[in-house]
Point group: C2
Chain length 200, copies 2
DNA sequence: GTCTATAACGAGATAGAC
DNA sequence: GTCTATCTCGTTATAGAC
C-alpha cells in the first residue's frame, strides 16, 4: 500500500490523492469526478481506476491519509510540551492552515455530505471526530489542572464545543473567503477559555 | 409568485420547495435531482421545470424562502421581549429544531458546497449569515448592557463566533445522528456567555 | 399544469491493447 | 502503468401534445 519500491509512496498514487484531496476540500466529494483529477494530472480515467478501484476506494484512502496526518500533527503538539493553552493554540493553527488554502476541513466537508457517502467513509469521518475530541479532552483536563484553561461542564463537553466551533468557523469563513473571520472566531473561542476571573 | 388564487402559496410550487428543501438539507444541493423530487411528488421532471426553470432557480427560491422564514423567527424572538440571554436561548432553539429533523441548516449545507453554487445562491447564503450576525450583534449588545451576557471582544466578534459554533455543532451532531450532541454544545456555548464572576 | 418523448451531456466503470 | 474505445446510467433540459 505504501512505498514498496525504494523511495516512499508511489508517485502517481500520491499525486492522485493530492489533487483529489484539494478538490474534495474545496468542492465536495459529490462535486468532483475522476475526469477532473485525470485532466489535471494529464492522465486518463482508467489510469486512476488502476490505482483506486472506484471513487469509494479513493475516498477511503483520502480520509485515511488525512487522519494519519492529523494524528501526526497532534503528536507534534504533544511533544512541544507547552501548557494546555498553548496546545489549544497549536490545534487552532491546524485549522488556520486549512482556511488559508481556501479549503474546508476534509472531514468537515464530508460531514455535510455524510448521508450520501459510502459507509466506510462515514465510519472514518466519525472516527476522525472521536479522535479529535479525545485529544482535546486530554488537553482541557491538563489545562484545568494547571489553571491555564477554564470552561464550564466536563472536559469532553468542552472538547466537543471546540471541535464544532472550529469546524463551523471554517465553514463560514471559507464562504466569505476571509481567513480573518476564522482567526477572529478562534481567538474569541480561546479567550473564552482563558479568562482569568477578576482577581477579587 | 405567492398565492394569486384564494388561499396562500400555489400548492404544487410549495410542495416542490418542501421536498427539495429537505433533500438539500440532508443530502446537499449537488446530491439531489429533479428526478428525486418528481418521484416523491408523483410528478414528472417537466412539471418541475414548469414551476422552476432550472435547478439554479429552484435553489434560489429555496434560499429565499428559508431566509424569509428565519427572519420571521427572529422577529418572533424580538417580540417575545426577553433579556439577551433568553433571546440567545430562543436562537439556539431554532437550530435545535433543524437537527431534530436530521437536517443541516440549509445555508450551512450550501456553505460547504459554496464554490459549486450558481452566483445568485452564493450571494443569498452570505446575506443569510450577515443577517444572522447583525441580529446576534444586537442581542449581545443588549445582553452586555443588561448584564445578562458576558463575552470577550466586540458584540460582532461574539456574534460571529456564536453563528459559527452553532453551524459547526449542527454539522457534527448530524453526522453522529445525535441531537444531544448539539444540545450539549449549545448549552456549553450559552454557559460561557452567562458565567457570573465569583461574586466577590 | 402536466404529460410523453427525447436530446445532449457527463459520470463511474470495464475490456483489452500496448 | 497507461492507453483507446466503449458501455450504461443518471442528470439537466427542451419540444410539443393534451
Amino acid at each position: 500500500m505504501a512505498g514498496r519500491p525504494g523511495q516512499g509512496e508511489d508517485g502517481t498514487r500520491a499525486r492522485i490523492l493530492d489533487v483529489a484531496e484539494r478538490l474534495v476540500q474545496t468542492r465536495g466529494f459529490n462535486a468532483f469526478s475522476y475526469a477532473d483529477v485525470a485532466a489535471e494530472l494529464r492522465l486518463t480515467k482508467p489510469a486512476l481506476h488502476y490505482h483506486f478501484a472506484g471513487k469509494g476506494e479513493l475516498g477511503e484512502a483520502l480520509v485515511a491519509r488525512y487522519v494519519a496526518r492529523f494524528t501526526e500533527a497532534l503528536h507534534r503538539i504533544d511533544r512541544s510540551d507547552g501548557d494546555g493553552q498553548r496546545k489549544l493554540e497549536g490545534y487552532a493553527a491546524l485549522y488556520a492552515h486549512v482556511v488559508a488554502e481556501d479549503r474546508m476541513c476534509l472531514c468537515g466537508m464530508l460531514a455535510a455530505e455524510y448521508h450520501t457517502l459510502p459507509v466506510p467513509m462515514r465510519d472514518s469521518v466519525l472516527r476522525f471526530f472521536d479522535q479529535n475530541e479525545d485529544w482535546l479532552e486530554g488537553v482541557l483536563a491538563q489545562g484545568a489542572q494547571e489553571g491555564s484553561l477554564r470552561f464550564s461542564g466536563t472536559p469532553l463537553e468542552a472538547a466537543r464545543l471546540i471541535l464544532a466551533s472550529l469546524e463551523g468557523a471554517l465553514l463560514v469563513a471559507r464562504s466569505f473567503e476571509d481567513p480573518a473571520r476564522f482567526e477572529s472566531a478562534a481567538a474569541g473561542l480561546l479567550a473564552g477559555l482563558t479568562e482569568t476571573e477578576p482577581s477579587d
